[in-house]
């Protein structure tokens, strides 16, 4: 086909100039220059957030919570007299991108520490790189990787308990109150496998057993075909799902079970960020959920919880104060708040002034042991194990009553403690 300069696909000099101009404008944008504009004399913290991908519903609220926490810290005078600068990057909830973002924080932004990674598959990929780059890396993932000795000296989880601790502390209550024959429905990757393995052991210790294990691939969008695998002898259905299809999962579970259902015990992950007033969730009335931090303000709400809700912008129902239908991931997002305050504590302990003191920051973290319930730790008091880099706290079991979650049992910190040989303090700095 003959083409001349008048065809619409032709490249005139003007077009080329426009293209080049557009590209130059893009390249000169603040995004490109941002690292150069980073303020000196501040504590720079990198937050890799799941803005997109399977963890986006969590990421949105984690970012809001981290932003609120940084604002509070700066209003308190910053850390060691320095203001805190928060640098957020999207990791797409993707292990590969998550690792790249860690590298970006370390080598481009040159941050003092990174915090906030949630999904365990992203953490598993990113933590080794953080260790290699000697970047203090504070995770909020619940993954039982630290206690298993699988991570490294630079990785800490000071804001939320891990799955092993959670299920260990709650198994006695489940066995005594709901039943001893349990069928588990969980996502088929390590987070789900942690639930499967640790809960199986914990309920067995209570004289119970797991009669059915139903693993669902994380990319699944329809669940009906899995439910016939629930054995008839099941007394308790234990479910924990994550991702954008959680609402579909719970609705389809309700459709399948009908009115004759066994007891249901779910992890709030299955409905995190989802409104309980959603039609078709009525069957959950009278069922139970694990909550790390109760979404609905309880009758005995602490002043610390009030403070946290006010600063993050969450109402008594766990929704955004600006939009009652924008439900937060309340049971998890406190972890990024609390993590920031533990980092602050460690930086103050080590009189941290800059990246040359990263090793001091690590050893200061390892010296922390108790965290009192406070504005900094609104979820409750905690014990931090400096050897395993893992925190331990209380868990809540809530019952759905009138479309809301009411706490019926709170475990003690000691209920969730477990023995492990992991000791990161023996690793080289």
């Amino acid at each position: 086909m003959h083409r001349d300069s008048k065809t619409f696909l032709a490249l005139s000099r003007r077009n080329i100039l426009k293209t080049a101009g557009g590209a130059a404008a893009l390249l000169a944008s603040p995004a490109i220059l941002r690292p150069g504009f980073a303020q000196s004399g501040t504590i720079k913290l990198g937050a890799p957030i799941h803005r997109t991908g399977i963890g986006a519903s969590y990421g949105r609220w984690y970012e809001r919570t981290a932003t609120a926490a940084v604002k509070v810290v700066n209003e308190m005078g910053g850390i060691n007299g320095r203001q805190v600068e928060l640098i957020v990057e999207d990791d797409g909830t993707d292990p590969k991108r998550g690792t790249e973002v860690i590298e970006k924080f370390a080598s481009q932004y040159k941050v003092d520490a990174v915090f906030g990674h949630l999904f365990s598959n992203v953490v598993a990929a990113a933590a080794p790189r953080a260790g290699e780059l000697k970047m203090p890396y504070f995770i909020c993932s619940e993954a039982s990787l630290l206690g298993a000795g699988k991570l490294n000296r630079y990785t800490f989880q000071p804001g939320i308990t891990d799955v092993r601790s959670q299920v260990t502390s709650m198994a006695p209550w489940i066995g005594d109150t709901l039943g001893k024959k349990v069928t588990m429905i969980y996502p088929d990757y390590n987070f789900g496998h942690d639930h499967r393995d640790f809960f199986t052991a914990a309920i067995k210790a209570q004289g119970g057993e797991v009669v059915g294990k139903i693993a669902v691939p994380p990319t699944e969008t329809s669940f009906t075909r899995y439910f016939p695998q629930i054995p008839p002898s099941t007394e308790v259905i234990y479910h924990v799902m994550v991702g954008p299809a959680v609402l579909t999962f719970v609705k389809e579970l309700g459709d399948y079970l009908g009115s004759q259902r066994p007891e249901i015990f779910g992890f709030i992950d299955s409905l995190e960020g989802v409104d309980f007033a959603t039609p078709q969730l009525g069957f959950l009335e009278g069922s139970y959920f694990w909550e790390a931090y109760p979404r609905y303000a309880q009758a005995n709400q602490s002043e610390f919880d009030k403070f946290f809700r006010e600063k993050v912008g969450v109402d008594a129902n766990g929704a955004s104060v600006k939009d009652g239908k924008d439900i937060s991931t309340y049971s998890h997002m406190f972890s990024i708040w609390e993590t920031l305050f533990v980092m602050k504590q460690a930086m103050e302990l080590s009189n941290y002034k800059g990246e040359a003191q990263k090793k001091d920051l690590v050893t200061a973290m390892e010296s922390i042991s108790t965290l009192a319930e406070s504005r900094e730790h609104p979820q409750g008091a905690k014990l931090f194990n400096g050897k395993t880099h893992q925190v331990f706290g209380s868990q809540n079991i809530s019952k759905v009553e009138g479309g809301k979650l009411k706490v019926v049992h709170r475990t003690s910190i000691e209920d969730g403690l477990y023995d492990t040989d992991a000791d990161y303090t023996k690793m080289a700095l």
Partner: protein
């Protein structure tokens, strides 16, 4: 290819390689790291382009070969403690063998059928990675042990946690693949490949074995993609199922289309632009993939043959 075209292409490729080599001395740390990643991905795109650009076969399953190299190298190191050079060699061979077997089947199809069959094979490979989670650790993937972060070669030890070492290893692989492709395309076999692309029927009429020609390029393409996967695993120390997903096959396609299918340096240019765009736009907006989609549409409208393809069409017909 005329002598002057040969000389021009050799000169251009040489200049690009020299530039890439010296960039490590002027770029800041983060960009050295980005450059390393780009060069590894460019090898993947070169492998993809060998098939699309020079034989005219559009595969939608090339992530399978990248993942074959990634897991071939990563799993042997992780589970069997193989040395890194042995793992790399094994991974490239395994990818080539996989390409030979898969190619023998899929090359019996053409056009849309070829695209669908390659896509289906790649999905099988992706699901296998998840199914054999005991070995691969499924979605979560595996991080290579610290012992696998150094290469012992001819008495020397290369520290893979060093950004400069990694950059030079990635550069070496890219240079090798570029020169290999250059030599292949400049040879009689390369001319047969492009003849198949331009007119398959006529090539067959002239007495050439079209199937063998396609299979040869398919194996070369698979091996090159596998080499990129193996390098990625060993240089960055992580293997995960993301790399086997459909998205990765599409990324190779986009790199190639952007830079110019059927041009030697097009995939490299495509990778440079695309990775830089993703990195920078993600700082600006969470809708960065949307923006990139729009940019791609605009580029395809203005540069329907990709950037280097359009340059070749208009100003530099000698470009290989």
């Amino acid at each position: 290819m005329t002598k002057s075209a040969y000389r021009n292409n050799l000169f251009l490729t040489g200049v690009v390689l020299v530039l890439l080599f010296f960039l490590q001395f002027v770029l800041p740390d983060y960009h050295v790291l980005m450059g390393t990643r780009m060069m590894v991905l460019a090898v993947f795109a070169l492998g993809f382009n060998a098939l699309l650009g020079y034989v005219g076969l559009l595969s939608l399953g090339h992530a399978m070969f990248f993942a074959a190299g990634l897991y071939g190298a990563g799993l042997t190191v992780y589970h069997f403690g193989w040395s890194l050079p042995a793992a790399f060699g094994f991974a490239v061979l395994a990818s080539a063998l996989l390409a030979l077997v898969i190619g023998a089947v899929v090359l019996r199809t053409i056009r849309v059928s070829f695209m669908i069959v390659t896509l289906m094979f790649a999905q099988v490979a992706y699901l296998m990675v998840l199914y054999f989670a005991e070995w691969t650790n499924g979605q979560e993937g595996l991080s290579l042990p610290l012992s696998a972060r150094a290469v012992h070669l001819f008495g020397a030890t290369l520290d893979l946690s060093s950004a400069i070492t990694r950059y030079n290893l990635a550069f070496g692989l890219l240079a090798l693949c570029l020169m290999l492709l250059f030599a292949y395309l400049a040879s009689a076999r390369g001319r047969v490949a492009t003849a198949i692309r331009d007119n398959e029927g006529r090539t067959e009429m002239l007495g050439f074995n079209v199937f063998a020609g396609k299979l040869e390029m398919f194996v070369l393409s698979g091996a090159m993609s596998g080499a990129a996967g193996a390098a990625y695993a060993l240089l960055f120390g992580y293997i995960g199922s993301t790399f086997a997903s459909f998205q990765y096959s599409i990324e190779a396609l986009l790199f190639t289309l952007l830079g110019g299918a059927g041009t030697l340096l097009g995939p490299l240019l495509g990778v440079l632009l695309m990775v830089a765009m993703i990195d920078k736009l993600s700082e600006l907006t969470s809708a960065y993939l949307l923006v990139i989609g729009v940019v791609l549409i605009v580029v395809i409208l203005w540069f329907p043959k990709g950037i280097l393809g359009t340059i070749r069409e208009r100003w530099a017909p000698w470009l290989l």
